[in-house]
């Protein structure tokens, strides 16, 4: 089954063929079939992740759905950014979603308070734009380390499990969880320090 990433890679590869030096992508030629296929693939792969993230940031399911919708539409408009294969697609999507949430929060703050704003909402994470590249870089790096390494980091860091809990979850002895987490962090460092990932001049997210 083709992933969204594969679809994105094919598009410029096929479209390039001719004399034009500019890589043509979905964004330039939004044929309805290609657009639909891209949106469907992105939704099927990343929809859950995006919606959960946007829901946490906005504290509101309806607002989160709007954010996801806008994120996917931007992905289609900027398919060329995505197709260049810099950073992970998911990192790009999550970053754009986060930017949309931040922009909307700012727009709201610029207006007089509304009744809806009184409702308790978790604060939007601090907006430091230098993390725009990092989110994509780190996710890409996590894609590049082995599945075992990624798993142990997800368990210990992102799911907040203890060594004993992760050992049970992964079906390995606690000692293995410890050593694996050490080597996973080393591997991550090697990937991030490697030449392919840290190329800061590109990979910027279009807002």
């Amino acid at each position: 089954m083709a992933t969204a990433t594969e679809i994105l890679r094919w598009i410029p590869a096929i479209a390039k063929g001719g004399e034009s030096p500019i890589v043509r992508t979905v964004g330039d030629y939004p044929g309805p079939d290609a657009a639909e296929t891209l949106i469907r693939a992105l939704y099927a792969e990343h929809g859950r992740s995006l919606l959960a993230y946007a829901t946490r940031l906005t504290g509101d399911r309806a607002a989160a759905e709007d954010v996801v919708q806008e994120t996917l539409v931007r992905a289609w408009k900027h398919a060329d950014d995505l197709a260049q294969g810099r950073g992970s697609v998911r990192g790009w999507l999550l970053t754009v979603a986060r930017n949309i949430v931040t922009d909307r929060a700012r727009a709201r703050a610029a207006r007089p308070a509304e009744v809806a704003d009184v409702v308790d909402r978790p604060p939007v994470e601090g907006d430091h734009s230098e993390s725009v590249v990092n989110k994509m870089v780190v996710l890409e790096a996590l894609d590049k380390v082995s599945a075992e390494h990624r798993e142990v980091l997800v368990q210990l860091y992102y799911r907040g499990r203890s060594v004993a809990e992760a050992a049970k979850e992964l079906g390995v002895p606690p000692g293995t969880v410890k050593s694996r987490s050490y080597y996973a962090l080393r591997a991550l460092r090697a990937v991030i320090a490697g030449p392919s990932v840290l190329a800061p001049e590109k990979g910027e997210v279009t807002r």
Partner: protein
Amino acid sequence: MSEHDRTQLGAYALGALEPAEVQEVDEHLATCAECRDELAELAQMKDFLGEVPPEAFLEGPPEGGDLLLQRTLREVRELSPEPASAPAPAKRRSRRWLLVAAAVVVVAGALGGGVVLGRQTAPQADEPAAGYKEVTATDTTTGTTMAATVEPRVGWSWVRVSIKGLKAGAECEMLVTDSTGKSWVAGSWVVSAKAAREGSAFGGGVLVPLDQVRSVEIKTIQGQHVVTATV
């Protein structure tokens, strides 16, 4: 932890060790600059991990239906320029674009074929679906002639009528009676001047399977009988 056991440092940096283990590592770190340096590097990686939200590791589509997907597709379709409005010098480009579209359609097939299938199973406007029934009737009192086609759908029916002899401005409704004698409204419309001259065509669906459709009747909204065809 009196000697180097670096493999503890990963879990330590990630905050996953038990308090007793943490204390052991702390004691060792207090005396070992090498391990402190190592820990600093690992802690930097932990900070990097912090850039990625935990939701990044959820897979698949959102739970609870695809209304959001449909809404997004609608927006993209509305934003897509019509093929006819493409700029003129783009001839070669559009051929290339066709290639892309073709490749993507292949992918769509691999993804489950939702796009293509969805279109092919939509009701066709021209030919009646296989297994349809066709009846005609003339009402001698009103002088109205009707040809009715009842097409099978899955659990319901699509009824198309073509009627001559209706008066312009008449407000009509189509009723379908099932085998239990129950009457279903399959839609209503107003007869235009042109339809009064040349014949009126109308279609509507009812939640009655084809084999239970007994009759199709046209009435005015005011309740006046116009014509009935028995199926």
